[in-house]
Symmetry: C2
Subunit: 95 residues, 2 copies
DNA sequence: TTGACAGGCAAGTAGCGACTTGCCTATTGT
DNA sequence: ACAATAGGCAAGTCGCTACTTGCCTGTCAA
């Protein structure tokens, strides 16, 4: 569970999650290109790869290997633990 | 919004939030004592004070001064932004 | 008024984490 | 077969941050 917070701590990783939210199942190179072109980030392929490893270890990303491609799929399920730990005060369920 | 994730990144700060969830409105010294006695942490008063400052800056804690005491109150409202950003996939509202 | 208590400010240290660099493996197309 | 593509491994550098240490301010009780 601590891995989830550690993964969310970095702004680049949060942007990667945004990218996969908008377009799920991207490869490492696709993510690199979109981080550069759409968010103005200048990162090495290695840097992005390490970020993806952290996100996968946290359970926020599931990977699927196919030939020489590796697709990354978002999984927001671990985020639910945050609300179970600190319930939103005095509010009903969220829509 | 980035402050919220930075605040949640540290395990000690998450335990502080747990403490305030269980017993809201504690002072700095009360939190220090409970971190030591209930969680086995050996932290300086300064360290805890700095953690509380980070949590307050993130909006997760509101402070109320009264005489020489300063009470700390939990506010989980900023956490709602997490779900707005990455909705829980394929699930209905949480109870 | 003086001492004890609750908290704050600031500088210094140490360790973790993000990023790079260099090289390597595996799959695909010509 | 060979080159290009997609990705992986490992060591090294650098900056941020958690924590400490030392001293200072404000409040309450004797």
């Amino acid at each position: 569970m601590a891995d989830v917070f550690k993964a969310l701590a970095d702004p680049t990783r949060r942007i990667i999650l945004d990218e996969l939210t908008e377009r799920d199942g991207q490869t490492l190179f696709e993510i690199c290109v979109r981080l550069t072109s759409r968010h103005g980030l200048c990162l090495t392929r290695q840097a992005v790869s390490q970020h993806l490893a952290v996100l996968e270890e946290a359970g926020l990303i599931a990977t699927r290997r196919q030939g020489r491609y590796k697709f990354h799929h978002l999984d927001t399920a671990p985020l639910a633990a945050i609300f179970e730990r600190w319930p939103l005060t005095g509010k009903g369920p969220q829509p």
